[in-house]
Amino acid sequence: MTGTRELEAHFTETIGHERRIEPRDWMPEAYRNTMIRQIAQHAHSEIIGMQPEGNWITRAPSLRRKAILIAKVQDEAGHGMYLYSAAETLGADRADLTDKLITGRQKYSSIFNYPTLSYADVGVIGWLVDGAAICNQVPLCRSSYGAYARAMVRICKEESFHQRQGYELLMTMMRGTEAQRQMVQDATNRFWWPSLMMFGPPDDQSPNTERSMAWGIKRHTNDELRQRFVDMTVPQASKLGVTLPDPDLRWNPERGRYDFGAVDWDELTQVIKGNGPCNAQRLAHRKAAHDEGAWVREAATAHATKHSGFAPFSSPNRPDQGSSKVQSEVQR
């Protein structure tokens, strides 16, 4: 017992001094589990997040936009990989995480359950959705868990490209025809409130916030980050020339911040429960990609086993030399 108490004291002291917890350190089980859940949920969001925009790659309006969009979606895949890799340092298993996503036992960000109806959505996702993600993620570069914090530093550098390409796309459309401006306004109308929901439930309905702050898992409350996002975004909207769909949105000189209207939390609850417009479609698509890739994974393993005598996670015996020789001769 004394041992555990000493370890716990050391853990608390490390966090108290703003030092990072590293993979093989002792940590409370609740810290480990919370961290795995958070990183996994974040990883799943990046992976599912490829779909709404991936939807438009084949219909990009120019080669330039297509190259940009491919690079962006590839980044999302990369971010998912950095994060799964960080989760694995805590003892999580990659295949198990994928299984938990596909079977709905772990969540991903509610925002990706909304459809992308026009090319303006690609721009608005970059501007608002990635903008909100940056607000959420910049403080996580100081997460108390080292491997997560390092992944976040890498991710935040790349997210900046995501947001800027989106805003630039929208500026271009706003300089276009009336129909194009209307597309931008329509996309803004649809994504504004779901973007505010990305910060999670209001503070008084977020029971784990206190412990997460004490453990350096969270750095700011949901409401603080939401307010920060609104304050950053309002001037961007007016520069762009779109109206944010909130009649209660106005500058409050006393607070020195923008007041904004009430978020429809019932909608968020419904989307999280699986009743958003695209939940079923997103999971089905992810599952199909995983299932249809099974033969590739198996073939690669078989190839590796045959050609290098490398048999991962099985007996240390090399496959008999004869057959691999035959194989290499066949190839020649």
């Binding site: 590293e22 093989r24 690079a71 990989m81 890799s85 340092t89 992944a151 994974r297």
Partner: protein, 93 residues
Amino acid sequence: MSDWPLYEVFLRGKRGLNHVHVGSLHAADPQMALHHARDLYTRRNEGVSIWVVPAADITASSPDEKDPFFAPAGDKVYRHPTFYDIPDDVPHM
């Protein structure tokens, strides 16, 4: 994926620097690990050289700083240049 082993990835950011650990990935064999590492960790010219090492082949010390493993260096202050008092007027030292 579990039957693809885990590789740790090290990048040399530019000539003159050491390889630095950047993360890990799964791959069926070392060659695939290199290709994946290129796609995953050098999409923006972050490296000029990559090492991949099967994670299972790494032997690590315990990370705990209080570990007696590092104690031998703890009481040898005379290994540092600041241990020695040299008058200020001695030049170039």
